[in-house]
């Protein structure tokens, strides 16, 4: 089993602490079936020649998942030269995650770019992302009151600490997903086709049972153009909404479809 990156420096009062959902992502990404898929996509396919794969984790939190991917690039992708970048609404998470990834790739620092304080993938250049990972705020709970964001997201001045309200707000960002727990995830899905690389892009999205994963997968397949969505990992022994799964979203045979269309203008 591959080691879990250390997050001992992270203050979990205001940054989401790695939990069952985080570990399900680690287990799924390093499972035999997913490493075999990722090797195919990034090592053995003609698209491997497009240069270093760029991995984006949206809502990076403590950084444990991105650090795991960066540190184990060779095992996961069959190549060491990947680039990783993260985004998070919470600037304390950005700082914590950057440290987590830097520690995990201390011997290969080029694998880590930066963590950007931003909303989903809105600041990322279109079609630049090869692998997108998202553990969203999936809990069906009222959305946080974003009008506090600017005040609560300010860097701390020396000697100051955060308030309880501020910490609660910052943690709410990491879990509260509105009706069906799907409000933020739906916004991410809308961005996905323009963010992912059109030749080799793939996304891993975590959902809980109450997010209605079967419906979500059907909707993605209905995008057409070869878009696929399959469950590739799951956890949670008891039935109920907390049962978690990872779906993989990608475009099947894009190179074949592209070559067909270029031969039949």
């Amino acid at each position: 089993m591959l080691p879990t990156p250390s997050t001992s420096h992270v203050c979990f009062d205001r940054v989401y602490e790695p939990a069952e959902d985080s570990y399900l992502l680690l287990d799924t990404l390093s499972s035999a079936s997913e490493t075999s898929f990722l090797h195919g996509q990034f090592s053995t396919s003609p698209a491997a020649a497009e240069g270093s794969p760029l991995v984006l984790e949206v809502g990076v939190g403590s950084g444990v998942v991105l650090a795991f991917v960066a540190a184990n690039a060779g095992t996961l992708f069959g190549r060491d030269d990947i680039l990783t970048i993260g985004t998070d609404l919470n600037r304390f998470a950005c700082e914590a995650a950057a440290q987590t990834v830097q520690k995990a790739v201390a011997t290969a620092p080029t694998r880590f770019l930066d963590v950007v304080n931003g909303d989903l993938a809105s600041s990322v250049r279109p079609h630049s992302i090869d692998v997108l990972i998202f553990n969203p705020p999936y809990v069906p709970a009222e959305l946080p009151d974003y009008s506090h964001h600017e005040a609560y997201n300010e860097p701390l001045s020396a000697g100051k600490s955060t308030t309880f309200e501020q910490d609660s707000y910052l943690l709410e960002l990491s879990y509260a997903g509105g009706p069906d727990g799907m409000v933020v995830t739906r916004r991410m899905l809308e961005q996905l086709p323009t963010i992912l690389s059109s030749t080799r892009g793939v996304a891993y999205l975590l959902l809980c049972a109450q997010n209605k994963p079967e419906v979500v997968k059907q909707e993605i397949r209905a995008w057409g153009q070869g878009w696929m969505a399959e469950t590739v990992g799951s956890s949670g022994k008891k039935a109920g909404w907390e049962k978690l799964q990872i779906i993989r979203i990608w475009r099947a045979n894009t190179s074949i479809l592209d070559s067909i269309s270029s031969h039949n203008p």
């Binding site: 270093s52 060491d80 985004t87 290969a108 304080n117 931003g118 809105s122 250049r125 860097p155």
Partner: protein, 141 residues
């Protein structure tokens, strides 16, 4: 924030996405720092196909750094010509000056403080303590 990162970022405002002038973002009042890292030649070779070279040159010029060549280096340009006196054929190829310059710019040069400005809408994104803030006020989302 590394200059290589800037090569993958654009204005967060939806209506700017279709405008070519929303990329690259233009650094303003930037305070740079050098964070030294070991040069990895294979890595540099593999990021060449990922670079938006013309846009990178614009950013480098705007920061007042030494101008990059007009055309993107090839993989061969990154390897130093083997010196006739060095007999060891087994050793790894040495990086050329081009590779060292590129490593310095992409990996080691970081924006510590300053602003990133969209060439289309003029919106300014702050960089504080190395973290770029791309959050928009509610009326711009």
């Amino acid at each position: 924030m590394k200059l290589l990162t800037l090569n993958f970022l654009t204005c967060a405002i939806k209506t700017c996405k279709s405008s070519p002038s929303s990329f690259p973002l233009h650094p303003r009042d930037a305070e740079l720092e050098i964070v030294e890292a070991d040069l990895n030649l294979k890595f540099l070779e593999n990021i060449l196909p990922r670079l938006m070279w013309d846009e990178l040159r614009v950013v480098v010029d705007e920061l007042g750094l030494p101008t990059l060549p007009p055309t993107i280096p090839t993989r061969a340009d990154l390897v130093a010509p083997s010196s006739p006196t060095s007999s060891s054929s087994s050793s790894d190829p040495a990086p050329s000056q081009t590779a060292r310059d590129l490593h310095r710019i992409l990996i080691e040069t970081c924006v510590r403080e300053g602003k990133l400005v969209c060439g289309n809408c003029g919106h300014e994104y702050a960089v504080k303590e190395g973290v770029a803030n791309f959050l928009l006020p509610a009326h711009l989302v």
